[in-house]
């Protein structure tokens, strides 16, 4: 208590002098011009940093694209975009705190969400309080949308939209009858595993094993030995790249050779194929987006091809679904501002809720809960180290190999 006066002064000094200087991208030249400020708290360090950095890349690409075209026009003015990034170090309470800081200290008008369903859910109570729209690129758990919040929008369809087409594609092989599921005991990986269990049972398959593994497990050999004993035709593993690479390697080590292996959410990332090497071959997966989809959009990128080109020009690789989903979050804010002809957060929120528009990412239309309901998630399989799209038909590149 003795320290209170000093510290309070320190806080105000800090807030004043540093507030404006934190890691902003985009426009340094925007000073003086009209600027729309957008906040993004991301896990740039800590266990979730690979995913956090993907989102940062997606958000930044959109901001660069908008500013390169002059900015966003609304109400007779042209606004440059400035994204204020904060690192929450993979610590959810800090994500919540950072979101409040972005809104109250940095005065952002919009929020680009943190990574994953958990942090998004936690942060969504803050932006809801302040009536600031938040667009989430990596949150699919329906638990977020059951809260009946008005200011959260997600660009991922519910989990079953991803498990259904994959189960359908695998079930084309009639000899596949026994499914083993090994799921990370964590919000998203567990939820999607439970959906897959339903999708498989609906197709008459038998789920011969459903095990959860603890977060922070290095070695899966016990579970995989059990898997071998269950003798599955198909294995569905969920988790993050770390878990899935280890799981795939240990399956090979212990001689588990099912007819089909599917995993989520690793194979959609190029890092998975790099780290798993030859073992990545024929691993199938499904995701909400894929670089081979083709849409013509009314967003700043114009089309999927143009988006891919812009991405490759900036980052020298191909975008994965999280990265594209992050970029479209920015584009959705832009489309909302243009439709509302205003940068007022409440008006833009109403405009976003009414959007029904094509983008490079696919059709964007939100249900009453704020979750997108207009996507057709693709199924793909790694063949020769590259993802090959199996479904939907319009963008099909090859047949599923068993």
């Amino acid at each position: 208590m003795l320290r209170k006066p000093v510290t309070r002064r320190t806080f105000s000094a800090m807030l004043g002098s540093f507030g404006a200087t934190v890691g902003s991208v985009g426009q340094l030249s925007a000073q003086g011009a009209d600027v729309v400020k957008i906040g993004a708290a991301l896990p740039l360090t800590g266990p979730l940093s690979p995913e956090g950095i993907k989102q940062q890349r997606g958000y930044s690409l959109w901001a660069d694209a908008v500013n390169a075209k002059g900015g966003i026009k609304a109400g007779g003015k042209t606004y440059k975009v400035e994204i204020i990034f904060v690192d929450y170090a993979s610590n959810t309470p800090r994500a919540v705190q950072s979101t409040e800081r972005l809104i109250t200290q940095d005065n952002v008008s919009f929020i680009l969400a943190p990574f994953g369903s958990g942090a998004t859910k936690a942060a969504s109570s803050v932006n809801e309080k302040y009536e600031i729209p938040m667009i989430a690129p990596s949150a699919s758990a329906t638990e977020i949308f059951d809260q009946k919040y008005k200011y959260i929008f997600s660009t991922l369809t519910p989990n079953n939209s991803v498990t259904e087409p994959l189960a359908e594609a695998i079930s084309q092989n009639k000899s596949i009858k026994r499914l083993a599921i090994l799921a990370r005991n964590d919000l998203f990986p567990l939820a999607i595993a439970q959906e897959m269990e339903k999708s498989a049972k609906a197709r008459g398959m038998e789920v011969v094993m459903f095990e959860r593994y603890a977060i922070g497990v290095l070695d899966h050999s016990a579970a995989i030995t059990q898997m071998r004993a269950a003798n599955p035709d198909w294995v569905y593993g969920t988790g993050y790249i770390n878990d899935l690479v280890a799981m795939r390697k240990q399956m090979a080590d212990l001689g588990v050779k099912p007819k089909a292996i599917s995993m989520i959410a690793g194979p959609a990332y190029k890092e998975f194929a790099q780290a798993a090497g030859p073992l990545a071959e024929n691993v199938s997966s499904s995701a909400w987006w894929h670089p081979t989809v083709r849409y013509n959009g009314k967003d700043v990128f114009g089309s999927t091809e143009a988006f891919n080109a812009a991405w490759t020009a900036k980052y020298k690789d191909d975008a994965d679904y999280i990265e594209a989903s992050s970029a479209v979050c920015g584009a959705i804010i832009q489309l909302g501002i243009e439709a509302a002809n205003s940068v007022d957060p409440k008006k833009v929120r109403d405009a976003i809720a009414k959007l029904d528009v094509e983008t490079f990412y696919g059709k964007v239309r939100f249900g009453d809960s704020g979750q997108i309901n207009s996507l057709e998630p693709p199924v793909f399989q790694l063949q020769g180290g590259k993802p090959v799209v199996i479904s939907p038909k319009v963008i099909k590149q090859g047949e599923m190999k068993f």
Binding site: R3, T7, T10, G23, N91, K121, A122, E143, N185, I215
Partner: protein
């Protein structure tokens, strides 16, 4: 000596006055930071009972915090009145500490540290495997309060501040009382203290329980405050490490050290966070290393040193 006491009381009065006027001048974010400082101070003050007074290096703070958070959150979803859930969160953590203390307080030094450290891991996994009651890995939603944004910010600030005041009052009582003396004896030489008739076990258990009860209640408040908890967040090992760093910053075994440490840690976190986008952990590391090497007795020792020199001059 009397002058010193008067200064202390004046400082207290000023501190209380400032706490009281903060909601009038500070915005919601300032209040959030102030609430966090109060929460940190509760954790640090609590740790000081076992770690500072008795010199038992406890890493069980996260376990108590998470346990309190889950007890309180589950009760809230069952419709138990809010304040009762906090009280029960605190009591639940205290009860747990009493049992745990019985099992591990005979350990010393590193062994005690490790034992207390893994308790949070075990509890986290237990929560993970009881999805029906606690939501498991999916986390748990806590019912929202029917208040405006500003009212909530003030409410949690006052609640956390009140909890801190209670923990401080308890600390003053303990430090000045017989149990504080007994714990000091244990710290210096436990075996000798036992021979001289100090019931070391009882006092250690008391200190351990005290290090849990307020932390459990703080966990409960935290759950209501953020409205969503999951096992990874509330059993985070940093919750065990930070109190220790705060007390080291402020001064081990002192009354005001934990509070001072809580302020400094939060100020450091804020400054470092804002200026080093992805290097803040390293920056914090450098600060910790510098403090340990150059100021191992905390900032309060520096303050006292300066006061002493002035007094002489």
């Amino acid at each position: 000596m009397t002058r010193n006491v008067i200064t202390t009381w004046i400082a207290f009065a000023v501190g209380i006055a400032l706490c009281a006027v903060l909601p009038i001048f500070g915005g919601n974010y300032t209040l959030r930071l102030a609430t966090t400082v109060a929460m940190y101070a509760v954790l640090a003050q609590s740790w000081n009972f076992i770690g500072g007074l008795a010199a038992y290096p406890s890493f069980a703070t996260a376990a108590f915090f998470g346990l309190g958070a889950y007890i309180s959150a589950v009760l809230q979803t069952k419709g138990v009145p809010l304040y009762w859930t906090w009280v029960l969160g605190g009591l639940g953590a205290a009860l747990f500490a009493a049992f745990l203390g019985g099992a591990i307080l005979h350990l010393r030094g590193h062994y005690f540290a490790i034992a207390s450290l893994v308790v949070a891991e075990v509890l986290r996994e237990l929560i993970n495997t009881t999805p029906d009651l606690t939501g498991g890995g999916m986390g748990l939603n806590v019912p929202a309060l029917k208040m405006s944004v500003g009212e909530q910010a003030q409410f949690f600030y006052h609640a956390m501040l009140a909890l801190f005041a209670i923990s401080l009052a308890t600390a003053i009582f303990v430090h000045r009382g017989k149990s504080g003396f007994a714990l000091q004896c244990i710290k210096q030489n436990e075996d000798a203290a036992s021979i001289l008739g100090v019931n070391a076990y009882a006092y250690k258990s008391l200190a351990f329980v005290l290090s849990a009860v307020f932390v459990g209640a703080a966990g409960g408040m935290y759950a209501t405050w953020t409205r969503y908890i999951d096992p990874t967040d509330v059993f985070d090992v940093l919750l065990s490490v930070k109190p220790l760093v705060m007390v080291l910053l402020g001064g081990v075994g002192t009354l005001l050290g934990p509070v001072v440490g809580a302020f400094i840690l939060l100020a450091l976190e804020e400054v470092v966070w804002r200026n080093f986008l992805t290097m803040h952990a390293a920056a914090l590391g450098v600060i910790i290393v510098a403090l340990v090497l150059y100021l191992p007795n905390g900032l309060m020792s520096l303050v006292r040193e300066i006061a002493r020199r002035r007094g002489r001059a």
